[in-house]
Symmetry: C2
Subunit: 345 residues, 2 copies
Amino acid sequence: MSWLEAELREQPSALATLIDREEARAREVAAAFRRDDIRYILIASRGSSSNAARYAQYLLGRANRVPVMFATPSLYTIYEQPPKLDGAIAIGISQSGASPDVASVLAEARRQGRPTIALTNDSASPLAQQADHVLPLDAGEERAVAATKTYLNSVGAIALLFAAISEDEVALAELKAMPEILERQIALSIETSPPLDEYRDAVGATVVARGVNYGTAFEIALKIRELSGLVVEAYSPADLMHGPIAAIQPGWPVIVVAPTGPARPSVEELSVPLQERRARVIAVSDVAAVLRRAHTKLPLVPRVPEWLSPMTAVIPGQVTAMRLAQLRGLDIDSPSGLRKVTLTR
Amino acid sequence: MSWLEAELREQPSALATLIDREEARAREVAAAFRRDDIRYILIASRGSSSNAARYAQYLLGRANRVPVMFATPSLYTIYEQPPKLDGAIAIGISQSGASPDVASVLAEARRQGRPTIALTNDSASPLAQQADHVLPLDAGEERAVAATKTYLNSVGAIALLFAAISEDEVALAELKAMPEILERQIALSIETSPPLDEYRDAVGATVVARGVNYGTAFEIALKIRELSGLVVEAYSPADLMHGPIAAIQPGWPVIVVAPTGPARPSVEELSVPLQERRARVIAVSDVAAVLRRAHTKLPLVPRVPEWLSPMTAVIPGQVTAMRLAQLRGLDIDSPSGLRKVTLTR
């Protein structure tokens, strides 16, 4: 078995470890969000961590009502003109904690006297050293270059932080049920993985989602891209409609992430233009009607609370990415030209 | 001549009109940024306007030192849980001013007592009605579906606002020189437009830039995509290195936007991995060494101040998009399935 597959299958236990070990620490970190001068959350990240950051943007923005912005590292590193961060609480997300650009943003926030938090799998990393509070990802060592369990645990850490900040015991209980649900999702996705032969020679694909799963679309796109070398991109339905849909040609695969929830109708509005363009729709959903209409079906375990659906919805994407790479005869653990730790300024 | 080409050629005069008519109004609007409770700028936009917003993120973030965040419209429309906007000044950018999602963000900001500004080509639009201040784009009617002069004037309006906010008379003088420089850039890009036959059957391309031209990369990608139907995507070099570079296969066209300035070395660091992957590099640059190394050269007029280089750097992208669509025999003014005004929630 590849490291990737082993780590993909380890995700439920990795999440359980995170919740088990860090519940108390998450409550401590949550206290930092209650400073009365906090007006917004600033997140620095790259790669898969940026997709977890997109989850944070919706989750913290939606329920905690604090708007979330992404840092523009080049202002800190290349232009050396960082913005004034009055009102900010800064979060760095990085499994390795090693990329200088992400650490630079936290260092600057700290220099300006703002609270800083690191979500990292390495508590001794340069990123962790810039943080007032470290929330460890507890994912264990990840050997495959493409992130699976560190991504899932980044999402898990944000969910844990959300439950702690909002002091929402129902949310915490829902989160604690997720490792078992993830076990079922992984079994379901592996058992029902459709034959992907028709996509083996595809050039690329487009992944679409909205709301809490917007980041899921980016993570599925990145995973397929890293593992199979296909050109895969992610869009919200609204952004796709404002021009980029022009590139959806007949037969182009479009992965629609549409679990039950308020964002689903918005994603489904795409079905008419996608049909007109004769795209091959691949649906990630727990909704029978959505799956029935799709060319290829990637079913989700039903009745997952929408705010936690990014954890289950990413799984069929990971499995599809892995299967596609196998079909294409590629090295799953070390995709060509990629490194586990990427250092950028 | 197509509407698109006519409007592309009109850009210098459209920009001159904007600067001429709105200098005084920009100073009035700038006063709103001096409220002492402003901690960040919130921008709502879609499509080409989002690419102008990316310019604002760097320009206002860099010199005015106010961080800039993009709104997540679904929090306002789908989830109906807008964040608290204490500390925000909200800007809506939309040529039509008609898309409900963009107007919703401004409406909510106003409801919360925050200052609101609209950058729009229609001062009677729903977006303009939600704004305390309207900065008209003065681009005149745009008939081609793909935006050219409304994009350029959105960038111009942001530059004008920047000069006004920072009370920088040197910057204002530099901006006033741009219509004449744009005339030269358009002539240069049309005269030196390389034969694109080798790209006629390309499936897609990747556009790379950083810093103030990050939005230029997205706009060039969108323009080629809308006009030619190719799958074109945009990345910063750092984001590309964190995984997505896996999809750059031999022969894949990569457009590198690298005008003189602090961001150039970061973009140039990509040349080694791109060479290893045998990408066909198309360089947009005023730097002889960068052009010399490129497979296809799209020269820029030299000595444009870096902060204004997004105005010239987009031109070769627009010309390339138009030429590629002509080569592919497509309807340049009305790309298949696109509308001039897109309404999304």
